[in-house]
Amino acid sequence: MEFTEEQIKRYARHIILPEVGGEGQEKLLSSKILLIGAGGLGAPCGYYLGAAGIGTLGIVDFDIVDLSNLQRQIWHGTKDVGRYKVDSAKDSIERINPDVKVITYKDKIDSANIKELIKDYDVIVDATDNFPARYLINDACHFMNKPLVYGSIFRFEGQVTVFLPDKGPCYRCLFSTPPPPGLVPSCQEAGVLGVLPGVIGAIQANEAIKITLGVGNTLNGRLLIYDALDMKFTEMKLRKDKCCPLCGENPNILDLIDYEEFCELYHHE
């Protein structure tokens, strides 16, 4: 790949790093990353991936920008209210970096489309906000052998890790099944500090870039927990569970669980 004058200038602060260099920047420019969710986690993550010069950035989200999103979903502006999030996101990235080919999918992920969505991408970023989507993405990444960068937030607390199929635990090793709704926090407890997804989404971008470059140590095998209120980062060991229903010794999840069916399942558990 030949860099243009503009690209050499644009990526100079990357190229000068021995861990990146011209070769690393070429890797970034030829990589394909899929971001699932264009909201609070997706915005900072996608911004940094775009600025870093990820060659192809896929963004999946079926939702429309709402005024109440803007407190944290920083790539949408007031004028974007009522637009598709992926359209607003694409405009934001193209404003920063014309090198990035942004492909948008106004789809709701389900068992019928997830494999097709992820198959051409090198790294998948889970920036969604609900359990059925998270289990679906985890399972699909396991079956398709795709590295998954996981991030999740609640009020003042964030969790982030990396799942590398065959090289470590998966999400089901951590939590084998989703919680029934009565035991997840009630609506009175809802809400999220706007900066929190900014921190977690930026860490997700960092991990996706490191996986692409093949440098450093990712969070594979470690769960990083961020408490924004106490300003504490804590790290927990994540181990592969030999009883994991997906990647354990005797798995019983052999195919994707249908999204709707799965919803019903866990609402009646």
């Binding site: 109440s68 609640f154 969790q159 408490d227 060991k237 994540l238």
Partner: protein, 171 residues
């Protein structure tokens, strides 16, 4: 020296907002039982009825998952830190507004009540115009996106047309 237990955000309503509490006990299960004595209701959020840890919660002794130690019987010594790590899905709960247009034959049915009862959503009527032959309601639904979607489908199954309100007309 007591044992420190780190309380995750979703359970802090039970600990008066405290992110860390101190307790005593020689094993994980003793500690959980002691926590329950001080903060009623916390055990059922962490454990099944048989006292085993729920599958969507993990308990860590220092930085090690107790499932890879002796589970709830893992022994704990003074100065240890226990962390409770629940699955969190992320995002904020959604709040969406819809115009509901009732067909005449269902105007008198308590459909909004049924939605509140059957689905995990908060219903909030923001404006309404109801007579014998017209029923138009601006309704706000708050909850997980999947639950809101189900509530919308339920309205539609009753013959009600549901239109999202894009601009905030009833703020």
């Amino acid at each position: 020296m007591p044992i420190t237990v780190r309380i995750p955000t979703p359970l802090r309503t039970l600990t008066n907002g405290k992110s860390e509490v101190e307790t005593t006990g020689a094993t994980i299960i003793e500690i959980i039982d002691n926590l329950e004595n001080n903060y009623a209701g916390i055990k059922e959020r962490i454990c099944e009825q048989n006292s085993q840890i729920r599958r969507f919660v993990n308990v860590y002794l220092n930085d090690e998952d107790i499932r890879f130690l002796d589970n709830i019987n893992s022994s704990v010594k003074d100065g240890d830190t226990i962390s409770i790590i629940p699955a969190i899905a992320g995002g904020a709960f959604e709040r969406k507004k819809f115009y509901l247009n009732y067909p005449q034959e269902v105007i008198k049915e308590p459909i909004i009540y049924q939605v509140g009862k059957n689905f995990n959503v908060i219903t909030n009527i923001r404006s309404a115009s109801i007579s014998n032959d017209i029923g138009i309601i601006a309704l706000e639904l708050e909850g997980e996106p999947a639950e809101i979607e189900k509530a919308v489908k339920f309205f539609e199954s009753k013959g009600i047309t549901v239109e999202p309100i894009v601009l905030d007309v009833v703020e």
